[in-house]
Symmetry: C2
Subunit: 334 residues, 2 copies
């Protein structure tokens, strides 16, 4: 029983009033979600950064994940893309395509999750569309950020000799996904919870990202996996990279689960969904980066170098300097 | 066989290269779809207008509609929202969630349809996301337009005494939908084709819309139906409206099909999917509007007035001045 143009279920206008209008109240450009579109300006010394990420139940998240977790992941993966460009969060639009089976409880939890993250990351809802679907829950966010004019950090600015840095720790989400699949048993409850939390609630580096403008030569966020994404950065930059795998930062939980298992270590390097920033900077940027890391509380670790070589080629060595044989992509099939 | 984060089918990167990168080549801010996000500025004397519309197969279009028609409708419904704000088209982002059954032919037709409309309306692809789904084809566009600072035409600026205007003709798409459903037989091939074309390829008023800045007091595009959308405008403007139904512009095809059938006439007034601009302006704007209409080639017809009364209340009279009893919404269920 839907509207042929809008696909809105009966009562959809009521749902928008109840759950989404409050999320837009902090952003005048949203015009109270009462107009045909949002309207906002961009300061003359800034550019707008625009990114879009979509998620489908059964592909990007488990249908029975909590709606608050789903909301957080949806928003945070987009914020991570903004951070990777050096942009500060500004606003976002939301598209929901929901099956009829989705009830008020789910929607209330989803909106609450968005609201919490809006406050956390200083961003507001600017507009969107709500439609119905006979298929799985399908969500997308288009996020807007602001960056100094000409300052957006590209993927393609890396140069041989630059050092390669990564924020936080990698591998947690990939190990968490194995736990969620039931393929990995972790006896330690707190390690198990920590890895699952990284899978469900990535921590976009929105404070550090904008500080990389003028400092990093190239940047992206790790979604496909550390090695694959470094390959993307290298491909766009026209060079190769050498990673010292012993320097790759791992969380205590990941360390405990990996132990001395080389397959698990390889998964951490290639598994994806980390949403950490992977960036390159000249040697002499290291002290400034150390200062930034201390100031923002975001760990920054040097893990290798860009080198001359075939564009996109990434080699990794173990602590003894021996070549590691890694799969290009570490991902599993949902 | 998809990537757990991106949900991309194997070969999805190849599909993006092949079908979507060419659509982004006209817009430097798209960064060749090779970065994490698009980056563009907004001139200091302009504001950005942002709108999002989603479409789901089986809800907003027939699964076997041609991919070119689907592309056109997706883009045009968004452009119509921009026009309703007085904004000129600038760029758009695209999210596609496609089932595995969608092959290269469909994608090629879809991209060709987007390309044709990009050229027609002067807009380019700025970015997007492509994911896979186990459900129906799900598409959304976020469209960006530019409007003079402070000039966006709201829904809520109408005042009692303003005249109500509509562009083009209304009712064609609603009649076309009945034909598509097999509920309406139209013997005349050219009338039949004309009505179906209006359903599948709405004609967003992108040239007239931006000219309404400073002239119209309120504006929206007719998607829910002329009467319902006038109700929305009135509700936001805090007044009522009186429509002289005999003045509502109908196409020759619609006129022929409606004949003297009051139910069909009611459908034309309430059926929706017209994507014409419905706006209000003071009495003394009529000559300027006539000039604009002549200049742009877009018919503009006065169909009634805003009046004092309960907010959102719309009454319609027949040519003899008798009250017409219309359903609030004329839509049928897909």
């Amino acid at each position: 029983m839907t509207h042929p143009k809008t696909g809105k279920a009966l009562g959809e206008f009521g749902r928008i009033d109840r759950y989404f209008k409050p999320l837009a109240s902090g952003f005048p450009g949203a015009r109270g979600l009462a107009d045909d579109a949002a309207v906002f300006g961009v300061p003359p010394d800034r550019e707008l950064v625009v990114t879009t990420d979509a998620m489908v139940a059964g592909v990007h998240f488990f249908p029975d994940d909590s709606p608050g977790d789903i909301a957080a992941k949806l928003l945070r993966t987009n914020l991570s893309d903004l951070a990777a460009m050096g942009a500060a969060p500004y606003a976002y639009t939301l598209v929901t395509a929901l099956p009829k089976s989705v009830g008020e409880d789910w929607l209330a939890g989803f909106a609450a999750g968005l609201g919490e993250d809006q406050a956390r990351f200083g961003i507001a809802l600017a507009g969107g569309d709500s439609v119905s679907t006979a298929g799985p829950i399908t969500l997308s966010v288009t996020a807007f950020g602001l960056v100094p004019k000409g300052g957006a950090v590209p993927r393609w600015g890396g140069r041989p000799g630059d050092r390669v840095f990564v924020t936080g720790t990698v591998g947690d989400a990939a190990l968490g996904l194995q736990i969620a699949f039931g393929k990995l048993e972790v006896a330690d409850d707190s390690a198990r919870a920590a890895l699952l939390r990284r899978l469900r609630r990535p921590d976009p580096r929105t404070t550090l990202g904008p500080r990389l403008v003028g400092l990093a030569t190239a940047c992206l966020d790790v979604s496909d996996g550390l090695i694959a994404d470094l390959g993307h950065l290298c491909e766009e930059s026209g060079c190769a990279a050498a990673v010292e795998s012993g320097r790759v930062p791992l969380s205590c939980a990941a360390r405990a689960v990996i132990g001395t298992d080389p397959a698990r270590f390889a998964l951490a390097l290639t598994g994806g969904d980390d949403y950490e920033l992977l960036f390159t900077a000249p040697e002499d940027a290291a002290p400034a980066l150390a200062g930034l890391s201390a100031e923002t509380g975001v760990p920054v670790t040097a893990i290798g170098r860009l080198v001359d070589g075939p564009a996109g080629n990434v080699t990794a060595t173990d602590p003894q300097g021996r070549a590691l044989d890694l799969p290009t992509r570490g991902w599993d099939h949902f």
